[in-house]
Symmetry: C2
Subunit: 471 residues, 2 copies
């Protein structure tokens, strides 16, 4: 229990003599090993990054401001998916506005953690535009140097940004400043990833190299999020509070229109398929930049004119987005399990996705996962509670449920064609005591659509972290 | 921590040396005072009830079988709402079938706890019909004495009923049996209410007297449920796992058709407006009986022919159903708070209801309630995440949030027309430290539709109870 939490409990108990009890719980395992050093050669060309401490957060040793700049001489394509929450935070409105004005072009990203700039009225909008303008000034001189920066904020809502500190932080990166730390090596990418963090326990950074038309390209990105995770994001939609943020950068050349359509596809199968607590945040934003810096002569890939290359890019982007999204689930607040929920045998992808989402967000399923209990009854009950399209008709005598261990050993069927199996409880315990495993639900409708969701368990620590967030 | 829970944790720690930590938590307050003795004169005439221990549960001092019989000489009207879960437990299929066969007539209810008779195949169907037949045999001789009993089961799923024990239990109530305990006084009603209990910490029984057309009528009922509570029930719908059960009995005379329509209306505003954990159970069932025993000459009330009396009855039934439903929230697994969520200013009732439901099921809102934190940001975020009908357009600058104490003292505005207020944190703590208070969200769309929801908080005990249910 953190000192803060103890303090908060003490306060409560001093004012009201609430009877208390003591419980022993599993410690949340360390997630630090998910942060690894990546080879500099795997990072896309043509980007400069940094993360600095500008003073939004009290602790001077943590980053709270991140800057990403495309130095490519070509126009950089930009796309974004925002949450569908009805409320819009200032940075979301501003980024959406810039993307529309520029018809899918932008060259920089500025992000701050510690304050979400949400429910901050006119002042919040002014502050977001100030962040854009100040970051624009860091860009190499080009024909159009205005409104080239997309902005993201995460943290506490209802408070205005300490904008003068942020401005000073951005200006420290101008090329004449002695404190400039923008770079392109691993440590620069790592600093930027750290600037995204709020309740995250490790910076979330990944990179990969892929081949398209016989040439090598690179993709890298970072994200943040540990609670309030159950995004539902679409292009050019919007909202107001802070949690899932990410950016994906590539040195491939992709047309703005195709970058948006590939990102929308990828986000549906990655960030829109994870759940920590079933909450859709008001600031959720994923941004993609494609700067074409891999080769001087590269023509922009477009879905209409080069379908084959587009498909390669879309699939690479999707796999990469899934990698990044999984890191968020692994770092889920209080999570002790990382569980893949696979729903197959549906007649429509949306039906399979809806069932997987319902299972992944069920408090009863998630507490059973924490308790390492192969409780197929709760899984079945969650499955049956989802309204499905007329295409997928559930027949209880066709539904099967099994648990699949991550180590490749044999899976355990607990329900086959609606009939409960005589479950080997020792084997069930063996599989469920692992940090990672898969739950497979076969709807048995004869269809072959499959959806995959990633979720974590609901632990005492989740209650502790969220019952005491503001303390 | 219960001995069982300690045992389960020990087992886990012996097999894997998981590091543990100790946390101090509020004890869940006792709910026993919600069970009170009611005057026998407030119970409807013409019903005999009992609850017995027949041996489904191991502990011989607890009831696990309840029987309710209408002794009225008039035909008894019956109506029911079942959950909309896609899976159907045997008792749900059978009760639905009987109601259809008899066109809304039935004279008895048999209920067991300890086993849900769900996912039990053909054997489960046979067992449910056996319970019906055996209870039919207890009824006074009438023209039609077959299939007059509705059946409900709650408890563990995937196990067949110990049907011979249940049959013996029912037969012990035949008038020739020396162990007959059917009665009509408070203790008989109390025994029946106790037979419904599973994880409930107190029997849930209420009664009231009301006046219609200058005459007195009585209504009484009981329900059970503490977890897996977030029902979505409609008439003649169905499912398969066990949790929210209730029955409402009156000595008014109401036509079958009008009893069903009044019950559907009442359930929407009561049992469909409560949430403990956002789970929709597969066995949720509410049954109403109206036996007309209050007066010999009473004609059946009907919506078409006697609108005024029908409206009186419908409103009394709704208020009564709300009283019963609230008891379930008060007994929510691990709950330390009872919170009313009122959403007003919508243009459609369904929009207000959807927002109230989302706030009431949000894990972040519920952990904040546990932490006694006036976290309007989470409330706003949940509000914004709900897809609404075109009738209700959310404008962030019109939304207001306040906390209203249950003791009649002044309320606390935390957000007014989208602007965060300077919150008096001491006053906020004062209101939220109470067991009971109200959260009011005014959507400010200019509409005047209001929905009310009742919810509880998410505590450490919730995780403990549900992470360890089968142990």
């Amino acid at each position: 229990m953190s000192r803060n939490a103890i303090h908060a409990f003490s306060k409560r108990f001093l004012s009201t003599p609430t009877p208390t009890t003591t419980i022993t719980v599993k410690s949340t395992p360390s997630k630090a090993h998910h942060h690894v050093e990546l080879p500099s050669s795997s990072f896309p060309k043509g980007y400069l990054l940094t993360g600095v401490h500008c003073g939004i957060k009290k602790n001077t040793s943590v980053m709270d401001l991140g800057i990403i700049i495309s130095t490519s001489e070509k126009p950089t394509s930009a796309a974004a998916c925002f949450t569908r929450n009805a409320f819009k935070a200032a940075p979301v409105i501003v980024s959406d506005d810039i993307l529309k004005q520029n018809v899918g072009r932008a060259s920089a990203i500025v992000v701050n953690s510690g304050c979400a700039n949400a429910v901050t009225g006119k002042q919040g909008m002014e502050d977001a535009w100030t962040m854009v303008r100040e970051t624009d000034a860091l860009l190499p001189a080009r024909a159009n140097q205005n409104n080239q920066t997309l902005v993201m904020s995460t943290g506490v809502i209802g408070q205005t940004l300490p904008i003068s500190k942020i401005v000073a932080g951005i200006r420290s990166q101008s090329s004449t400043a002695g404190t400039r730390s923008l770079g392109s090596d691993f440590s620069a990418w790592e600093r930027a990833a750290k600037a995204f963090m709020t309740t995250d326990t490790f910076p979330k950074l990944r990179s990969r190299v892929f081949t398209m038309k016989g040439k090598e390209f690179r993709i890298a990105g970072m994200d943040k999020g540990a609670g309030m995770i159950h995004p539902d994001m679409g292009p050019a939609s919007t909202q107001l509070h802070a949690t899932l943020l990410g950016c994906i950068l590539t040195d491939a050349a992709v047309s703005p229109r195709s970058l948006q359509s590939a990102l929308t596809y990828a986000v549906d199968r990655s960030f829109n398929s994870i759940s920590v607590d079933g909450e859709m945040s008001t600031n959720d934003t994923i941004i993609a930049l494609a700067n074409g810096a891999a080769a001087v002569d590269a023509k922009e890939i477009d879905e209409q004119t080069d379908k084959e290359a587009y498909e390669v890019f879309k699939n690479e982007l999707t796999e990469f987005a899934i990698d990044l999204a999984k890191l968020v689930v692994r770092d889920g607040e209080g999570a002790t399990k990382f569980v893949t929920v696979t729903v197959k045998g549906a007649n429509a992808y949306s039906d399979a996705h809806r069932v997987a989402s319902r299972i992944s967000t069920s408090a009863l399923v998630k507490t059973a996962l924490y308790g390492e209990d192969a409780n197929w009854g709760r899984i079945l009950s969650a499955t049956g509670s989802v309204p499905l399209s007329p295409a997928t008709v559930l027949d209880p005598t066709k539904v099967s449920v099994s648990f699949v261990p991550a180590d490749g050993s044999s899976s355990l069927s607990v329900l086959v064609d609606g009939e409960p199996e005589k479950v080997d409880e020792d084997r069930a315990k063996e599989i469920l005591s692992n940090e990672e495993f898969e739950v497979v639900v076969d709807l048995g409708t004869g269809g072959n659509e499959t959806a995959r969701y990633w979720t974590c368990d609901f632990s005492y620590e989740y209650v502790q972290i969220n019952g005491d967030y503001r303390s």
